[in-house]
C-alpha cells in the first residue's frame, strides 16, 4: 500500500515546524515515529500534502525532572518510557503502560506525543495521562499553551489542538499509587479496555482518586462515579469491589466492534477497573 504523494521537510526546531505548519495552510501533518500517521496514509485515510519531520528536534526528546515535575518530550519513544529509570522511580505507571503498547518494534518507533495527538480511542497513554492529571504543553504561533489531559481528549481522534500547534511535552507530578490494567487485542495489542487508576493514600485513607478508561468509548475519560466511591474511604477490597462495580455506568457511547461487543466491553470495564485499583493500592 502506497500513500499519495507528498512533500517532505525536516524541521530543525519547534519554531520552524510551526512556521511550516502555518505556511501549509492546514495541508501539512507532523511526522515523528509515524506509527499512527503512516498506517493511515497507506490506507489513504490521511493524504497530507506535506510532512514536517519533527523527529530530530533535540528539544522534543527525553525525560527530565524539573521543579518537582516530570517532563517528557513529545518524540520520546514508548521504549524509552518503558525502560526509563527516572519514570520507574517517580511514576512507574507510565513505564508499565508504555511497556504494554503494541510490540517491541512499535515501541522502538512510536512516540508519546504521536499517541496523544492522534488520540486513537484504544490507545493506552491517553488514559494514563488523564488519570495522573498530566498537562499537555503545546506551542503555536502565539506561544505556549497548557491543557490538562482531561480536557485535551475531546472526542474520537479529536483533541484540543490547532492545526498550527506542535505538541511539545507532557508534564506531571510524581505518582506512586497508580496502576494500569489492560485487556489486549491479541494481534494489534491495542486496548479493548484499559483502565488507569491513580490514588493518593495518606494514613490509610484515600485522599484523592482519579480513574480513567480507554478503549471503551470515543476517547479517554474519567469515571467519576468510581472516584466518588473511593475518596475518603479506606483502600480495602470491599471498597475497591464496590467502586469497580459501577465502573462504566456513566459511559454513554460504548464501542462495539469485531473485537468486543458493547456488553462485553461494559463487563470488562468493571473487571479492569478492579484490577487497576487493586494494583494501585498494592503499590503502597
Amino acid at each position: 500500500m502506497i500513500p499519495t504523494k507528498f512533500a517532505y521537510r525536516r524541521a530543525a526546531s519547534i519554531d520552524e515546524a510551526i512556521r511550516l505548519l502555518q505556511e501549509s495552510g492546514g495541508e501539512a501533518k507532523l511526522l515523528a515515529g509515524g506509527h499512527s500517521l503512516i498506517p493511515l496514509m497507506k490506507l489513504r485515510l490521511s493524504e497530507p500534502a506535506l510532512l514536517i519531520d519533527i523527529g530530530r528536534i533535540p528539544d522534543l526528546r527525553g525525560i527530565r525532572e524539573r521543579d518537582g515535575l516530570i517532563e517528557i518530550g513529545a518524540t520520546t519513544t514508548h521504549h524509552e518510557l518503558a525502560t526509563s529509570e527516572l519514570l520507574r522511580r517517580l511514576a512507574p505507571v507510565v513505564s508499565e503502560a508504555a511497556a504494554e503498547i503494541g510490540d517491541p518494534q512499535v515501541r522502538h518507533r512510536g512516540t508519546i506525543g504521536g499517541s496523544l495527538a492522534h488520540a486513537d480511542p484504544a490507545a493506552d497513554l491517553p488514559a494514563v495521562m488523564v488519570a495522573i492529571d498530566a498537562e499537555i504543553h503545546l506551542k503555536g504561533p502565539n506561544g505556549w499553551r497548557t491543557v490538562p489531559a482531561e480536557s485535551f481528549f475531546q472526542d474520537l481522534f479529536t483533541v484540543d489542538m490547532q492545526p498550527d500547534e506542535v505538541l511539545a511535552a507532557v508534564k506531571f507530578r510524581p505518582v506512586w499509587h497508580a496502576a494500569y490494567a489492560k485487556l489486549h487485542q491479541r494481534a494489534s495489542h491495542y486496548a479493548i479496555v484499559g483502565v488507569c487508576a491513580a490514588l493518593a493514600i495518606e494514613n490509610g485513607t484515600i485522599r484523592s482518586a482519579r480513574v480513567a478508561v480507554t478503549g471503551a468509548s470515543t476517547h479517554a475519560q474519567r469515571l467519576p462515579n468510581v472516584e466518588e466511591r473511593l475518596v475518603g474511604r479506606q483502600p480495602t477490597q470491599a471498597v475497591i469491589d464496590e467502586a469497580a462495580s459501577v465502573a462504566g455506568d456513566t459511559l454513554e457511547d460504548v464501542n462495539s466492534d469485531i473485537h468486543a461487543s458493547e456488553e462485553y466491553r461494559r463487563a470488562m470495564v468493571k473487571v479492569f477497573t478492579r484490577r487497576a485499583l487493586e494494583r494501585a493500592v498494592a503499590r503502597a
Partner: protein, 161 residues
C-alpha cells in the same frame, strides 16, 4: 510538489547515496532499489513483523518507516547477519531447532530475536515470547521458534564467555 529527496543510508555495512520519493517506504527501498528481498512484506499494516529490520540497532517494521526517515541511519537486514559465510547464532538456532516451516515470517522473526538477545542475553521463555510478540508465524505455533531463540541465547553466551 513531491520532489526527490537525497538520502544517505548504510545497509548491511554498505553506504548508499540515493534520491528517493518521500513516500517510498523503507521496505520498498530495501527490496526494490537495493534488491535485498530477504525482508518480506506481510500484512503491510504494522502488525505481522515480516518486514522487521534493525534500524540504528533496534528492531523496526520497515513497512511503517519512510526511507527519508532513515536518512543517516544504519540498517541491518536478514542478509547482513551472516559473517564470512558463518550463520549468525540466531540463524543457526532456527536451522538446528526447525524454527520455520514456510519461511515467510522467518527473516523478521530472526531479526526480532537478534534484537531481543542484544538487550537481554539470557531471556526466560516468557521474555522470548514477549520479544517476538510483534512477529506472526502462521505455521509453527511458535514452539520451535522459542527453542531456536533459546539455542541462540545459549550459543551467544557461550561464545562471549
Amino acid at each position: 510538489m513531491s520532489d526527490l529527496v537525497p538520502i544517505s543510508i548504510t545497509v548491511n555495512g554498505r553506504r548508499y547515496e540515493l534520491e528517493v520519493e518521500p513516500r517510498l517506504l523503507l521496505v520498498h527501498l530495501l527490496r526494490e532499489k537495493l534488491l535485498l528481498t530477504g525482508t518480506h512484506v506481510g500484512c503491510d499494516t504494522s502488525q505481522c513483523g515480516a518486514c522487521t529490520v534493525l534500524l540504528d540497532g533496534r528492531s523496526a517494521k520497515s513497512c511503517t518507516v519512510f526511507a527519508v526517515q532513515a536518512d543517516g541511519s544504519e540498517v541491518v537486514t536478514i542478509e547482513g547477519l551472516e559473517r564470512d559465510g558463518q550463520l549468525h547464532p540466531v540463524q543457526e538456532g532456527f536451522w538446528e531447532e526447525h524454527g520455520l516451516q514456510c519461511g515467510y515470517c522467518t527473516p523478521g522473526m530472526i531479526v526480532s530475536v537478534v534484537d531481543l538477545l542484544n538487550e537481554n542475553p539470557n531471556p526466560t521463555e516468557a521474555e522470548i515470547r514477549a520479544g517476538i510478540s510483534g512477529n506472526f508465524c502462521r505455521c509453527t505455533g511458535y514452539q520451535h521458534i522459542v527453542k531456536a531463540a533459546q539455542y541462540a541465547a545459549a550459543r551467544m553466551r557461550g561464545v562471549s564467555s
